[in-house]
Amino acid sequence: MILLSPFAGLGRMVLGLLSNLGRVAIYAAQVVSHIFRPPFYPREFLHALMQIGWFSLPVVGMTALFTGGALALQIYAGGQRFSAEAVVPAIVAIGMARELGPVLGGLMVAARVASSIAAEIGTMKVTEQIDALVTLSTNPLKYLAVPRVVAATLAVPVLVAVGDSIGIMGGWLVGVQRLDFNSAAYIKNTVDFLEMWDITSGLLKGAAFGFLVALMGCYHGMNSGRGAQGVGRATKSAVVSASVLIFAANYLLTELFFS
């Protein structure tokens, strides 16, 4: 019996993971199925759009700026080994647009938005506001989750586009100021090498990440345990699961788009 207990524990863990995945999948299907069905809540949608999109701009912009700069330095240092310093503008642009812009933007939004959504909805659950919504003939999933998920799915690609631009600008700034690139040549190189699909694929990734971030925030908030500890746990789970799902989705989408 003692020898079997680790296997039993492993089995329980796998079953727990699968049942959680199933619950998340059903929740996601419910959210999607309600997107096009009335009633609609435009005020809640606009509020979510401001909270997720507009107020995330500074943190996404700063992250992109420093990442673009660091990327330029790294590529320059690496490129020097085989006399390929000239690839800095192209690699910074492609790297930002395809990978770093969407992934880092998604992660910053996960940290900022998934946590706040989970904490807000979790607190609403603990203080019976979710029950109050039901007694007021309002479907909590439709009123709380759908506007946030739609807003995040639309807002994150815009954040990614802004982040890409700022990140490329960060690379240009470091390239011109620190690495002695000619400004016009750097910009021309960037424009010449960057293709529309590089940008579009990043924006599509951003939409997928936005969906996952808001979904995880809403799911964990709605399933929050009791008290401050329950809300804290829901918030932590929302950020962790959103981050892991972003990396997993990034790999799958990269396979889909580029392999």
């Binding site: 009633p39 509020h47 203080t127 019976e128 029950d131 109050a132 039901v134 007694t135 007021l136 003939s137």
Partner: protein, 248 residues
């Protein structure tokens, strides 16, 4: 009329309701008393469909509450939650008029605001609170706002979950009087959960005591003091000694 027959509900290994039988006649005020954890709130949430019972039946005017149009069913109810359950992100008037701004009872915004202000006045709050947020009000004022929200759409049935918990004795008296006045004025059926015996005497037409997952005693409030049931006597007099076990 609301009728519960043999309602059971278990959470994990904890059987909270073990066959609750209760009848609440139309237009009367029923108060449910009982110790903490005896299933008072669960009973109320089962009627509203917030919790699904494991067994038994709950009917409203002869119709099973789990069947039929859910929106139409809920539109007949108003509910005052224990902590108020006001929506933090909405202004006071938007909280009160929540049901009037969306769904089947929706009406123009100006009209909904007017009704909200009238309901606030009914619970003793002036129009100056209408544009505040819940966090800007005291606990007693929040309870009044929650009461205003419960009656905003003139429901036929109103539930009150611990309406005086956390309030000082004077504010408790004010809320009790308001509940009694409003229920009589609207001719509504009321169901209240409370530990507060002054609330029981102020609000109730009938009283039911839950103990051990069942209705231990039920009858008119006028007969409550005279009942020989030792559980009821221990509870209403707040005695530590008696058949109800207490942790000390």
């Amino acid at each position: 009329m609301i009728e519960l027959r043999g309602v059971h509900k278990t959470f994990g290994s904890n059987a909270v309701l073990r066959g609750v039988d209760l009848t609440i006649a139309k237009g009367t005020s029923m108060v449910i008393i009982g110790g903490s954890g005896t299933g008072k709130s669960v009973t109320l949430k089962c009627i509203l469909g917030l919790i699904k019972p494991d067994g038994g039946s709950i009917t409203l005017d002869g119709q099973d509450v789990t069947r039929g149009d859910r929106d139409a069913f809920l539109a007949r109810f108003g509910m005052l939650f224990q902590g108020g359950a006001l929506f933090d992100s909405l202004r006071i008037w938007e909280n009160v008029a929540f049901r009037l701004l969306r769904g089947s009872l929706a009406r123009p915004k100006a009209e909904a605001r007017e009704i909200a202000i009238e309901k606030l006045r009914r619970v003793g709050l002036g129009p100056q609170v209408a544009d505040l947020f819940p966090a800007e009000l005291s606990g007693g004022m929040q309870k009044r706002v929650s009461l205003a929200r419960a009656i905003a759409a003139n429901p036929e049935i109103i539930f009150f979950d611990e309406p005086t918990t956390g309030l000082d004795p004077i504010m408790s008296g004010v809320i009790n009087d308001l509940i009694r006045e409003i229920v009589v004025e609207m001719g509504a059926t009321a169901m209240t959960i409370t530990h507060d015996m002054s609330s029981v005497r102020a609000i109730a037409d009938n009283v039911a005591m839950l103990h051990g997952g069942k209705v231990r005693w039920t009858g008119p409030v006028s007969e409550m003091d005279a009942t020989p049931d030792p559980y009821v006597q221990q509870f209403i007099h707040g005695r530590a000694e008696g058949p109800i076990e207490s942790l000390r």
